[in-house]
């Protein structure tokens, strides 16, 4: 086993420190920790080791020979990559645009996890998960549909969606194999509004989760495959209803391919909101329910998308919508991201438990989210006391659509 201490054969660690040094000092030199109380993991563990501050400080410590990658590996597991910290950080919020230099905790955590993989400090759960991803080309999500390319389109049964075309719908793994009501609802909404779209030939996972867990090469392979498939089926535009995929296609893929990336990426919730606004999709069925909305981290914090979902909720006739503003929700999370449910399911359960408790406190009968990855932990935490629905599923009801699949 090679010695990864910085004073030994620590080449990989040295390179890592050099690459991330400026990010590290950007945070370390301030030390002010405004991130701490918005971090969903910190709210639960209260352990300073799990703070974005520590994530950056650890890199400075590695530079100074105080810590090495195996000392910090467990700390870096404790992150959902929700992006609250890096947005809330005054180095982003007040001056990130001024200096063109912002806090990038998500990238730092991803990169450290990749270093962990490269230096023999992998986590067992993530290792197993990504081995199965290699085999099946999709996330090994637990569900009724077996995860494999053979079944990747089972969710679309009876919908007559063609293969290929200028607009291609990308269906998230969790939605393809587990929460199929999500993907069916979205597809049926598009069809009702007369939007033409097709599916990929061979849809692999976007590669985002692999990258989040530190499997950068695997993520690249997936990106290359998907882009080649898009080109092969004539796609100019990718419709991405799932926020995780939207981030992969608007951030990860451009970073991999540079200028050789010609696709338009359309965010699902913004498309549906526009269709309703333009009258191409009519919401005529009243929905007499009282709901609140969960701002998914990867929409609200990571991409600044919080208006379109609310516009849709307000357009649903009969709906009583008790809102919690999107800035308060910077500190909310389902705990489902960043591979956390695989390695630390008890922390995910606590995070989602608290999110559901907040919704329950508003006396609503449903919590509406806009991210399928959040809906599994939130549903588990709700334990039947509250319904957890996806926004597309709710809009489909209001549009008079029979979705016909397990929610």
């Amino acid at each position: 086993m090679a010695d990864y201490s910085p004073n030994g054969d620590g080449e990989l660690q040295r390179e890592f420190v050099e690459r991330w040094r400026n990010n590290a000092y950007g945070c370390y030199s301030s030390g002010h920790k405004f991130c701490r109380e918005v971090c969903p993991v910190m709210q639960v563990t209260r352990n300073e080791n799990h703070t974005p501050t520590a994530f950056h400080a650890h890199i400075v410590a590695m530079e100074k020979g105080v810590l090495s990658v195996e000392d910090v590996a467990d700390d870096f597991v404790h992150c959902t990559q929700c992006g609250a910290c890096e947005l809330r950080c005054p180095n982003t919020l007040f001056t990130g645009d001024f200096y063109r230099h912002r806090t990038r905790t998500v990238d730092v955590v991803k990169a450290m996890r990749a270093l962990m993989v490269a230096t023999g400090n992998e986590r067992e759960g993530w290792k197993l998960w990504n081995e199965r991803l290699v085999e099946a080309h999709n996330e090994p999500v637990l569900g009724d549909t077996p995860v494999s390319q053979e079944h990747v389109r089972d969710w679309a049964e009876g919908l007559d969606i063609p293969e290929g075309g200028e607009s291609v719908l990308f269906v998230d793994c969790e939605a393809a194999f587990y929460r199929t009501s999500y993907s069916r609802a979205f597809a049926l909404l598009l069809q009702k509004a007369g939007v033409e779209f097709g599916l990929m030939r061979e849809q692999w996972c976007c590669g985002g989760p692999a990258a989040e867990m530190g499997y950068a090469d695997l993520a690249r392979k997936h990106a290359e495959h998907n882009v080649a498939d898009w080109r092969a089926v004539g796609a100019k535009r990718i419709l991405a209803p799932d926020p995780h995929d939207y981030i992969a296609f608007t951030e990860d893929y451009p970073a991999l391919f540079g200028d050789d990336y010609e696709f338009e990426i359309v965010l699902g919730v913004e498309l549906i909101a526009e269709l309703v606004r333009d009258g191409r999709l009519e919401l005529t069925q009243p929905v007499e329910r009282t709901v609140t909305y969960h701002d998914p981290c990867r929409l609200n914090k990571r991409k600044g998308v919080h208006e379109a979902p609310r516009e849709l909720l307000r357009a649903i006739p009969g709906l009583e919508f008790k809102d919690v503003d999107h800035v308060t929700q910077w500190s909310y999370c389902s705990g489902g991201g960043g591979g956390l449910p695989i390695e630390k399911p008890e922390i995910t359960a606590e995070i989602s438990g608290r999110r559901v408790a907040r919704a329950e406190g508003l006396e609503v009968d449903a919590l509406i989210s806009a991210c399928p990855w959040s809906e599994r932990p939130l549903t588990e935490a709700a334990d039947g006391r509250l319904e957890v629905m996806d926004l597309f599923e709710l809009v489909a009801v209001a549009a008079g659509i029979e979705v016909g699949a397990r929610p």
Binding site: G26, S30, K33, C35, R36, E48, K64, D71, F94
Partner: protein, 503 residues
């Protein structure tokens, strides 16, 4: 990696701690846990990081656990360093001799909200912003509002004797804490207040101890619970910013405002010429301001509409009576709102050739009287200029003066000079230079009848050596108290020259 223990902590001690805490996840002897509980935002000799690490961290959930840990520390003569948020601007939470870091963040519950007797009782690990989110539905708030408001914790506010931006209206930490439960340096659990029951504000029975236990910098014990004031939530906030072509006009206007007798005045802030120059580099409010703008005075008020609205007209008159020009609604509103998370941004650092580099932030917080503010400003800038010339890794970010008297806007001022330090370039030589600069700055404050620190604490090199001087004839009393309460010198030892109590 392994970093040797500095104190009598060893594997046997860690086992004893595990037995006390009963949960191995809350006893952390591993090196990344220790490294994460070393520095605070104050300038830090990063090149000597391992010298300041605790030997082990514990995350207690009850006063009983804290008490047992402290008793063990006494038995074995192991230093104990309490740490709440670790967001302090002096070195109160930085271990000097290894030992046990008692990290109170898990003690963050709201134990009770009493709307009749107007108190909220909390653990020391709760943050004020999070507390206020829970208090809001009841129409009350806890207005302890430092620049670290979104991240500092109640325990640390008590330990440092914190200052609040809104102190002239609502009081500072010391005024807002009614009583507390403290684990004394010998491990007993004591209820400390003004006298009387937990929710009583003012008494003359026995000896009044509350003052002593706010601002001790963790040297007299560990707060494990606190009962706090519930203040009516303000109906209205008013803020106004005024620009001046001359510092003395701004200084006079500050005096006029603070002596106005307006009861809803929450704070007045005076920005000097160097601060304006610094703000012009990178603050959108100031970038386009004309060159004649040399100083600024900011004012804020909070209260009922019936009081604030008429008072705001008086403020506008006073603000403009001596050449002050209103900076406009957008700046007044926007800049005031940003004051609640006003720690310095590293990239505001500039090298001598104007290059942007991340600098860590020294925030001076002397307490001084109105009459000496202009002179102190001249002397301080001259000092910093000399050190910039000599060492090249510092940067002068200008000065603020803030109202410092609880409920008394006319009283004294927290005087801040902000100095950037290019941390990546720190070595023993320029660190020693920094300490010398710090000491010179503190000496000026003392020379002018002030205090080294309004709220951060004089716990670090450059300040601590001067504590006996500042205390003067009170110093022997301070030493006797410290020795009486902490006979084994285990509670945050080495801070504020209190080791002298044991000589």
């Amino acid at each position: 990696m392994s970093v040797a223990f500095k104190s009598a902590v060893d594997d046997a001690v860690v086992d004893e701690l595990r037995a006390i805490i009963g949960d191995d996840d809350r006893v952390l002897p591993n090196v990344s846990s220790r490294a994460s509980r070393t520095r605070v935002p104050a300038p830090f000799p990063v090149h000597r990081w391992s010298e300041f690490m605790p030997d082990v961290a514990v995350l207690p959930v009850s006063a009983e656990e804290v008490s047992e840990v402290v008793k063990l520390a006494n038995r074995l003569r192991i230093p104990v360093v309490p740490r709440a948020g670790g967001t302090g601007l002096s070195d109160g939470a930085v271990p000097l001799r290894g030992g046990i870091c008692v990290d109170v963040k898990l003690m963050n519950k709201i134990h009770e909200i009493d709307l009749d007797d107007r108190t909220v009782t909390v653990g020391p690990g709760i943050n004020m912003l999070k507390l206020n989110e829970e208090l809001r539905p009841h129409g009350v708030f806890y207005p302890d509002d430092p620049a670290s408001y979104p991240c500092s914790l109640v325990g640390g506010r008590i330990g440092t004797g914190g200052w609040s931006l809104l102190g002239s209206r609502f009081g500072h930490t010391r005024d807002l804490v009614i009583s507390m439960q403290v684990v004394l340096p010998t491990g007993e659990i004591a209820e400390i207040g003004d006298g009387g029951g937990r929710k009583l504000r003012k008494s003359s029975t026995g000896l009044t101890l509350k003052q002593l236990f706010t601002g001790h910098q963790g040297t007299l014990g560990i707060t494990t619970e606190a009962t706090l004031e519930l203040v009516p939530r303000p109906e209205l906030e008013f803020a106004a910013f005024f620009a001046f072509d001359d510092y003395m006009k701004a200084h006079r206007t500050t005096g006029a405002l603070t002596r106005s007798g307006l009861a809803t005045l929450a704070g007045v802030v005076l920005f000097d010429e160097w601060k304006l120059r610094y703000l012009r580099r990178d603050d959108e409010a100031y970038i386009p301001q004309p060159p004649w703008v040399q100083a600024v005075v900011a004012v804020a008020m909070y209260g009922t509409r019936a009081e604030v609205e008429p008072a705001s007209k008086v403020v506008m008159e006073l603000g403009r009576a001596d050449g002050g020009k209103y900076l406009g609604d957008e700046i007044s509103e926007g800049d005031w709102a940003s004051r609640h998370d006003r720690y310095a941004t590293p990239l505001h650092g500039r090298t001598k050739d104007g290059q942007v580099v991340p600098m860590s932030w020294h925030c001076e917080d002397a307490a001084l009287n109105y009459s000496v503010l202009p002179k102190v400003r001249e002397e301080w800038h001259a000092i910093v200029e000399r050190y910039i010339e000599r060492y090249g890794i510092f940067d002068d970010w200008g000065m603020f003066c803030y109202t410092n008297g609880a409920y008394k806007p006319w009283a004294d001022y927290l005087v801040e000079i902000d100095v950037g330090i290019w941390e990546q370039k720190l070595d023993d030589e320029n660190w020693a230079g920094w300490v010398a600069c710090k000491r010179e700055i503190a000496e000026v404050a003392l020379k002018h009848g002030g205090s080294i620190t309004a709220c951060h604490g004089a716990t670090r090199e450059g300040d601590a050596e001067l504590v006996p001087t500042e205390m003067g004839s009170a110093w022997p009393v301070v030493k006797r108290i410290k020795r009486a309460l902490d006979p084994n010198n285990i509670m945050n030892p080495g801070k504020q020259m209190l080791d002298e109590a044991y000589k």
